[in-house]
């Protein structure tokens, strides 16, 4: 008995505490070095503020894309590795629409629909931007969302529904196949090149003064904030005001039980794909509008950060996804104060791994879909 106790305590100390102590020490060191940097002028307040602003916007995109991933993860119980490519698909569909509307008067349709594959049309020349071509951007965002919805439903029908009852791992592996097919089909159609999509020079911007410098805020930053916050509020209301949220929670707890209680599970799944897919498509479009470039790999590169956000926030929680997205976005951007800039994303992954170790249910724990 006493041996087992000693052994247990020994194991506990070895497994839990040194890591926790290490993490605490690292955090302490970061705070101290930041404070001393700010005091001595090694870190400018304005550059810190710029990084925070950048991280916040990045986090909103990650959060917006994360809502869909989180919902399908909790209801269908699998990590959808194709989610990033839904985002890319939405972005391409939306940008094709924007190109078409902004450039139809002077260009032929083909290159416009291919989002200027091979350098045939340039987004800058078409004047894509919220102020220069508001209609094109609005319709682009709508089409991006709509296309992602259709795509998500079609893929669910073809790839996921036939094996709905299989384990989460089988579905995960299937989603890797879907991701491959989708990503390289996009490359097949739109080409491998990364293209500039916006008239970056003509986007209105203000430089907000900040103690020892300025923080630049552009119209696209504002547009991103408005769209992201608006959609998040919309989802919040949707899940609060309708029975959908409750049905989703019931399903993620126990699908069979939900079904015999009279919840139309397939319909709930479809609604989930519609909401999640739509948000993801719009997130992809706003991401591309905001950063001004578009490539076939964009969504895949963002996917791991989205996963990090979803896990951080707790799978199934849309507020968790939003909060987690902002934490991950801030980590990826602000961490460059302490570490070389190449490791910003690595820092975000590390935060995710640390969370998984200490609080695998996420920081906003529990199933709080609504």
């Amino acid at each position: 008995m006493s041996i087992a106790d000693t052994y247990g305590r020994y194991r506990q100390t070895l497994a839990g505490d040194p890591l926790a102590i290490g993490v605490a020490l690292v955090v302490l060191w970061m705070v101290l070095s930041l404070v001393s940097g700010l005091l001595t002028g090694g870190v400018q307040v304005s550059s810190l503020a710029s990084l925070v602003w950048d991280g916040l916007l990045r986090g909103l995109i990650i959060g917006l894309a994360g809502i869909g991933l989180s919902m399908t993860y909790s209801i269908l119980n699998f990590a959808n590795f194709a989610h990033g490519d839904y985002l890319t698909s939405g972005a391409f569909a939306g940008m094709a629409t924007s190109y078409l509307i902004a450039g139809i008067s002077e260009n032929s349709i083909g290159p416009l629909l291919l989002v200027g594959a091979g350098g045939s049309v340039f987004g800058g020349a078409l004047g894509i931007g919220v102020t220069t071509a508001p209609l094109a951007v609005l319709l682009g965002a709508l089409v991006a969302g709509g296309f992602a919805v259709v795509l998500a439903l079609a893929i669910d029908r073809i790839a996921y529904r036939p094996i709905r009852d299989e384990s989460g791992i089988a579905l995960l592996i299937t989603s890797i196949g879907v991701a491959f097919a989708l990503r390289y089909l996009i490359q097949f159609v739109f080409g491998a090149g990364v293209r500039g999509t916006t008239a970056a020079g003509s986007v209105p911007r203000v430089n907000v003064p900040m103690f020892d410098g300025t923080v630049r805020i552009t119209a696209h930053d504002i547009a991103l904030v408005v769209v992201a916050v608006g959609l998040m509020l919309g989802v919040h209301l949707l899940l609060q005001r309708t029975k959908l949220g409750k049905a989703m929670r019931a399903m993620s707890d126990n699908e069979d039980l939900a079904q015999i209680t009279g919840i139309p599970t397939e319909q709930v799944i479809r609604t989930t794909w519609i909401v999640g897919g739509g948000l993801t498509g719009v997130a992809g479009y706003m991401f591309v509008l905001w950063k001004g470039t578009l490539g076939f790999n964009d969504g895949w590169l963002l996917l791991l950060l989205v996963f990090a956000a979803v896990i951080l926030g707790g799978i199934g929680s849309i507020y968790g996804a939003i909060g987690g997205g902002i934490v991950i976005g801030l980590t990826a951007s602000v961490s460059v104060i302490w570490i070389p800039s190449e490791f910003g994303r690595a820092a975000a992954f590390l935060v995710m791994i640390v969370i998984l170790l200490f609080k695998p249910e996420g920081i906003f724990s529990g199933r709080t879909t609504a």
């Binding site: 291919l114 299989e166 791992i169 890797i176 390289y184 690595a346 995710m352």
Partner: protein, 453 residues
């Protein structure tokens, strides 16, 4: 549906009772197909041998890595999608240890410690295993899907590290008294592998280098008149890889049949039960993960060590998924299946599409392909599908990945256990099967509830 499945399963089982002939048959089919393709291309002997060496290389590396993955996923049920990270660690450490210092190394910007290649390979395998331990210690407590995300994040962190300017090159202080002057990971430009050619190092170690050169002379006089060395080198390297695959196979099969392997399979089936039976499952999982990671490191070394240079983009997660597809084709849990899957993946999905493209191009006189999808579709306006066909052929390197994705989805729908996976294994250490000569195999008796098979 279920009847058809059962029939197919029975047919498959009956066929795959004889694994070795099956593997040989599949290999023979693939090789004959490649030789025939070579004949169609009008290859001389040199071209044929090159094509065979190339095929053997990929069969070897994919077979080897699928076997290593089988230890993780097939035996222990550890969902590792960070394979490419371990491969990268293996080859980068080997390069770091074995590259000559800049002062002796010619054009290379970054040098190494100049130790023999054997030391470098050993170091690469050990460090890959060490990183396996580093990942596994915290991560093995996680659910399978969390482990997947952690491992793929790990492999991306490794790639960021390879690319980073921070570790690009580091001056080694002369005070340490080492041969090295500047070492590092080379950043985005990668590393030039200017150590002794691995084949030469191996042959020299066994005092076979001079006989080999003499053999090359004979080949030059008889079969390939001009410069036969690269071709014969490639073939010999392929043979070495196949020997390596065999070594992996023997190691993993013996491991699987050992008490250790039985515990791993118990963990795969139900970890709680294995735990309740008094097995320290954490420890078993840890050992299996570290061993698998070290084997993956070794696989990475064998893949890239004869390449001349390595760059970070080679270590994208795509490679990991290739190996997963290979394992799923072959069947997780079966070593024979793993190798078979590696061979089929390499021959059909990885290299095959390119050969099909070349075949079509050799068979028909085709013009230039359109530059983009728009020009390809423009042909349909005048009911001319040729531009689209040409563009499709020209994009075969991307479409190959689409095909892989579709094949993966199809497999998960129709045959998730792969060609050879999920066969019942006898848990007893003595042979429980009926003595041969028993006639019941043709008409299965129902007296025992029909559960003999």
């Amino acid at each position: 549906m279920s009847d058809a499945d059962a029939d197919a399963g029975g047919w498959f089982d009956a066929l795959f009772d004889r694994d070795l002939p099956l593997v040989l048959a599949v290999l023979a089919v693939i090789y004959v197909a490649y030789v025939l393709a070579g004949v169609a291309f009008g290859y001389e002997l040199r071209g044929q041998l090159n094509s065979i060496a190339n095929l053997t290389f990929y069969v070897g590396v994919f077979g080897m890595l699928a076997l290593a993955l089988n230890l993780h996923w097939g035996y222990t049920g550890l969902f590792n999608i960070g394979i490419v990270g371990f491969m990268g660690i293996g080859i980068y450490v080997t390069a770091l240890v074995s590259k000559p210092p800049v002062a002796e190394g010619g054009a290379a910007q970054v040098g190494g410690f100049g130790l023999p290649l054997s030391v470098g390979i050993l170091a690469g395998v050990l460090v890959a295993g060490l990183f396996g331990l580093l990942v596994a210690l915290p991560a093995l407590r996680l659910r399978a899907d969390y482990l997947a995300i952690v491992t793929v994040a790990f492999s991306e962190i490794i790639r960021f590290t390879m690319m980073s300017r921070t570790f690009q090159s580091v001056e080694v202080p002369a005070a340490l008294g080492l041969r090295a002057d500047t070492v590092g990971l080379g950043g985005g430009g990668g590393l030039i592998l200017n150590y002794t050619d691995p084949l030469e190092a191996l042959l020299r170690a066994f005092f076979l280098w001079d006989p080999y050169l003499a053999f090359l002379d004979v080949v030059q006089q008889t079969l390939i008149p001009n410069n036969p060395k690269p071709v014969v080198d490639g073939l010999l390297y392929g043979v070495m890889l196949l020997i390596g695959v065999f070594a992996f196979y023997v190691l993993l099969t013996r491991l699987g049949r050992s008490p250790f392997g039985r515990v791993l399979k118990a963990i795969r089936e139900d970890e709680d039960v294995a735990n309740a039976l008094g097995k320290d499952t954490d420890r078993f999982k840890l050992t299996a993960f570290v061993l698998g990671a070290a084997l993956m490191g070794f696989g990475g070394i064998l893949w890239y060590s004869s390449r001349g240079s390595i760059t970070p983009p080679s270590f994208r997660p795509n490679i990991t998924f290739f190996i997963w597809i290979a394992l799923i084709i072959g069947g997780a849990g079966s070593n024979t299946g793993s190798f078979l899957g590696g061979a089929i993946f390499a021959g059909l999905l990885y290299e095959g599409p390119r050969y099909v493209k070349n075949l079509v191009e050799a068979a028909f006189e085709l013009g230039d392909a359109p530059r983009n999808f728009g020009e390809a579709m423009a042909g349909f306006a005048s009911l001319d599908p040729m531009p689209f066909v040409l563009y499709t052929l020209d994009s075969v390197s991307q479409l190959r990945l689409v095909i892989m994705g579709v094949v993966l989805v199809w497999l998960m729908h129709n045959r998730p256990e792969g060609l050879l996976g999920h066969r019942k294994e006898i848990a007893s250490s003595v042979d429980l099967s009926r003595p041969s000569g028993d006639e019941t195999t043709d008409t299965p008796a129902a007296t025992d509830g029909g559960e003999t098979r």
